[in-house]
């Protein structure tokens, strides 16, 4: 009798939807981020949730996890209506765990504290750290994690942090794992082992939502794929019965845009920029960049590959003049510019697209027009005798808005009001308007959607074709492969490999990025 009930319950369990979100609507200010979106998740499935940037994927998942309150709609978890007063605390209690794109680890706390903290109660005056640690060790063994529990999470690598996040969710007893853009910061090998891990979780009956804008990832491991576009649910399809082209069409509502035509490398490049034996030390006297030499010819695109945090950004900052190298020299057009100021380097023809457009690229509180002339406002025709000439600035700003296709209500609108893609176009227009001879571009398409990405890449290629030497630093391998003539790989501040376009070996590239020297 009892056994029969259990079996019946199991059958019901199997058919039951884990999550049932109906007609979810959410607006931020005047932007409608989600419009009556319905999302149903079954037990034991891996679901790909795809869409362009701004399609509402992350917002939807944040609502499911209780981070945001929906304006309208119903949420049912394990067949229980939880629409009211839904919060992360309740979500965790119901077995939902979310790993955010920007991790929510507290960098000052140890790994153990980070994992255990959410499960502690306000009355836990004497937490049993030993017992917690052994429980986590057991869990680690089960899933094949290797983490140092008593290390401060600040010192962990990105991959390790992600493991800790997953471990945290599993330790809380998560039956549903929401992974928001999990592979953005991982090497191909790390991404592969992450997917193996997710498959293992599915075997144990867990459900996984994989939020991504990378189609091939979604296709690789998902059972079903849900497509969002512009805050609306477009379709949920079985993976078996679809193909990437169809999904892509649903994502962008147009056919797959063909990759930018690769430009031809210049036959005998004349080197316009050289970096000779540059070493950079941080505060703690540890070299973050060690003895790096490279040269870029006119019309050439040099790609710098590497997982974020291996010294690429420091290298870019030294070239631009934001940081001083401990040793080594930098040449622009044959002149030693190592001791030059940023301004003089810019005059010598150096353009810069910074990694983080908010801190170095644009001043978000200032208007589009002001930002566009920020670097050259002291020069004629924008000013004379030190006094600005607004009409000249307006004229050029209007031209730039038109020629770069910046979507803005006007040139007097603060840049903060623009979307990420259009902000990046402002940065691009600003950098290219000086007619640089050398362009240092850091993560130029990060966070941009398809069309903006395509636009930026096209501009970079055009630049190279007109004879500009380009140093392209990116953690997006596809981008590097598509644009670069040569690729160097950085790992822990050193160049560990160089490939010409013809001699490219993808496996080896991945291994080098992960620090494997052999092979």
């Amino acid at each position: 009798m009892a056994g029969g009930t259990v079996r019946a319950a199991k059958a019901v369990m199997h058919n039951k939807h884990v999550v049932n979100m109906e007609a979810i609507t959410k607006t931020f200010g005047i932007v409608r981020a989600l419009d009556k979106v319905t999302f149903v998740l079954d037990a034991g499935e891996i679901r790909g949730l795809v869409g362009e940037n701004g399609a509402g994927k992350t917002t939807l998942m944040n609502i499911l996890y209780g981070m945001y309150q929906p304006d309208d709609g119903n949420i049912r978890v394990w067949n229980e209506d939880v629409s009211r007063n839904w919060s992360p605390r309740l979500a965790i209690a119901k077995g939902i765990g979310m790993i955010h794109q920007h991790f929510s680890l507290i960098s000052n706390h140890t790994v153990l504290e980070n994992i255990v903290m959410p499960t502690l109660k306000w009355g836990d005056i004497v937490p049993q750290w030993k017992r917690f640690a052994s429980q986590i060790e057991t869990l680690c063994g089960e899933y094949g994690f290797k983490v140092k529990l008593h290390e401060r999470s600040e010192v962990l690598s990105v991959g390790e942090r992600q493991q800790v996040e997953i471990l945290k969710a599993l330790y809380q007893g998560a039956r549903v794992l929401i992974m928001d853009e999990p592979t953005g910061v991982l090497t191909p090998q790390q991404a592969k082992s992450l997917f193996e891990l997710l498959l293992r979780a599915r075997e144990r009956g867990h459900s996984v939502v994989l939020v991504t804008h990378k189609l091939n990832e979604a296709m690789a491991i998902s059972d079903r794929i849900t497509v969002l576009r512009g805050g609306k649910h477009i379709a949920t399809v079985e993976k078996r019965s679809t193909n990437p082209q169809e999904i892509a069409k649903m994502m962008v509502d147009r056919e797959w845009i063909s990759p930018v035509m690769r430009n031809q490398p210049p036959a005998r490049p004349q080197f316009v920029m050289e970096v000779d034996g540059v070493t950079i030390e941080e505060k703690h006297r540890e070299p973050v960049v060690e003895n790096i030499s490279l040269s870029i010819g006119a019309g050439e695109i040099l790609g710098v590959a590497g997982v974020a945090g291996n010294g690429q950004m420091e290298l870019a900052e030294v070239i631009v003049g934001l940081k001083k190298p401990k040793s080594g020299r930098i040449f622009i057009g044959g002149k030693n510019v190592t001791r030059w100021s940023i301004r003089n380097r810019r005059r010598a023809g150096l353009g810069y697209i910074p990694e983080d457009r908010h801190t170095h690229g644009v001043i978000t509180e200032m208007t589009v027009g002001e930002n566009l002339v920020l670097d050259c406002v002291e020069n004629p025709p924008y000013s004379q005798w030190g006094i600005t000439r607004p009409w000249a600035i307006d004229k050029w700003a209007k031209e730039a808005v038109q020629s770069y296709g910046i979507k803005t209500p006007g040139i007097n609108v603060p840049v903060a009001n623009l979307s990420g893609g259009n902000q990046q176009k402002v940065v691009l227009a600003k950098a290219l308007s000086m007619n640089p001879k050398i362009l240092v571009a850091c993560q130029p398409t990060r966070g941009l959607d398809f069309s903006a990405t395509e636009y930026v890449r096209k501009k970079i290629v055009e630049c190279a074709e007109s004879g500009v030497a380009i140093c392209l630093i990116s953690s997006d391998l596809d981008e590097l492969l598509e644009l670069s003539h040569r690729i160097v790989v950085m790992f822990q501040g050193k160049i560990v490999g160089e490939f010409s376009r013809e001699g490219l070996n993808l496996d080896q590239l991945g291994l080098l990025m992960a620090g494997h020297r052999s092979g």
Binding site: F28, Y65, M67, Y68, Q69, S87, P88, R89, L90, A91, I92, A93, M98, H100, H102, S104, L105, I106, S107, N108, H109, E113, V116, M117, P118, L120, K121, W122, G123, D124, I125, V126, P127, K168
Partner: protein, 290 residues
């Protein structure tokens, strides 16, 4: 003779440090939860007055304690409502609160001046000539250290201060925690005021705290948000004050202003030495749930 001079100095330093320690405790709780407690000076002042009013009108020190705690809770609710629930810039509201508190306490003191211009009964020392306030301050520092770094709720509190996003994601109601932390912090700061008026000088005047809340703030920063280090910073400040007067009597024949300047120079040096201490990651950032 020499020994008794040292004991005397140490006791004087501890007397001067006691109100600072209470305030430092309050600042620690608030800032570990991510709320800058600039209003500590104003809360201390309110507590200082409440202690005297309570003792005089209530007729015994317990009434004074009760009034102090009530004043702390009220101040905490006001501060928490404006800086957490609304929320508003924490520095600006702190400064505004200090100004309001100065005005309100002076006004109330004026209304009750006839009754309050007396010395309230002295609280007898409990142990080794230490007042109950001093002993409680030291015990509380150790308890606070244990609470912050060894208990579950302490870890959760620190999480809120370090990273509101992460704390929210782990199911903590950031607004509630900050609200409660500010109330506890304000009660502690009010007790600091009571330690000054009820436990030390036994009377009140306008602006009796005279920047002691800010010195406690400096002590916490110097102590890098660690209760034990903050305690030593408070003792250093107390010793500076005690030494300044002892210098006058040595017959070195220096201008009295030279000695009186000592504590301030010492404060500046100590804070300068502390360098760029890194506080809780999200301290000072208003939190708004979407």
């Amino acid at each position: 003779m020499i020994e008794s001079w040292w004991v005397d100095l140490l006791l004087a330093a501890l007397r001067a440090a006691t109100p600072l320690i209470f305030c430092a405790l309050g600042i620690l709780v608030a800032e570990r939860a991510g709320v800058l407690h600039i209003g500590v000076e104003g809360v201390m002042l309110a507590g200082a007055l409440a202690a005297i009013i309570g003792t005089v009108l209530g007729g015994n020190p317990w009434a004074g304690m009760l009034a102090t705690i009530a004043a702390g809770i009220i101040a905490g609710i006001i501060l928490a409502f404006i800086s957490v629930s609304l929320p508003t810039n924490q520095v600006v509201i702190g400064i505004a609160f200090n100004l309001v508190s100065l005005g309100v306490t002076s006004f109330l003191f004026r209304l009750l001046a006839k009754q309050l211009q007396v010395l309230v009964p002295a609280i007898p020392p409990l142990l080794f000539g230490l007042s109950p306030f001093a002993l409680a301050a030291i015990v509380l520092i150790v308890v606070m250290w244990w609470f912050l770094f060894w208990t579950g709720p302490g870890l959760k509190l620190r999480s809120v201060g370090e990273n509101t996003h992460a704390a929210h994601a782990s199911g903590i109601n950031v607004v509630y925690v900050r609200f409660a932390a500010l109330i506890i912090a304000s009660v502690l700061a009010a007790l600091g005021g009571a330690a000054l008026t009820m436990g030390w000088v036994r009377s009140f005047t306008d602006n009796v705290t005279l920047g002691r809340g800010f010195i406690a703030l400096a002590a916490v920063y110097f102590g890098r948000w660690n209760p034990l280090l903050a305690l030593s910073a408070c003792l250093i400040f107390g010793a500076g004050e005690a030494l300044a007067f002892r210098g006058q009597g040595t017959g070195a024949g220096l201008n009295p202003h030279y000695y009186l300047m000592l504590p301030y120079i010492l404060t500046l040096l100590v804070v300068g030495l502390a360098g760029m201490a890194r506080g809780p990651g999200d301290a000072g950032k208003p939190y708004l749930r979407r």
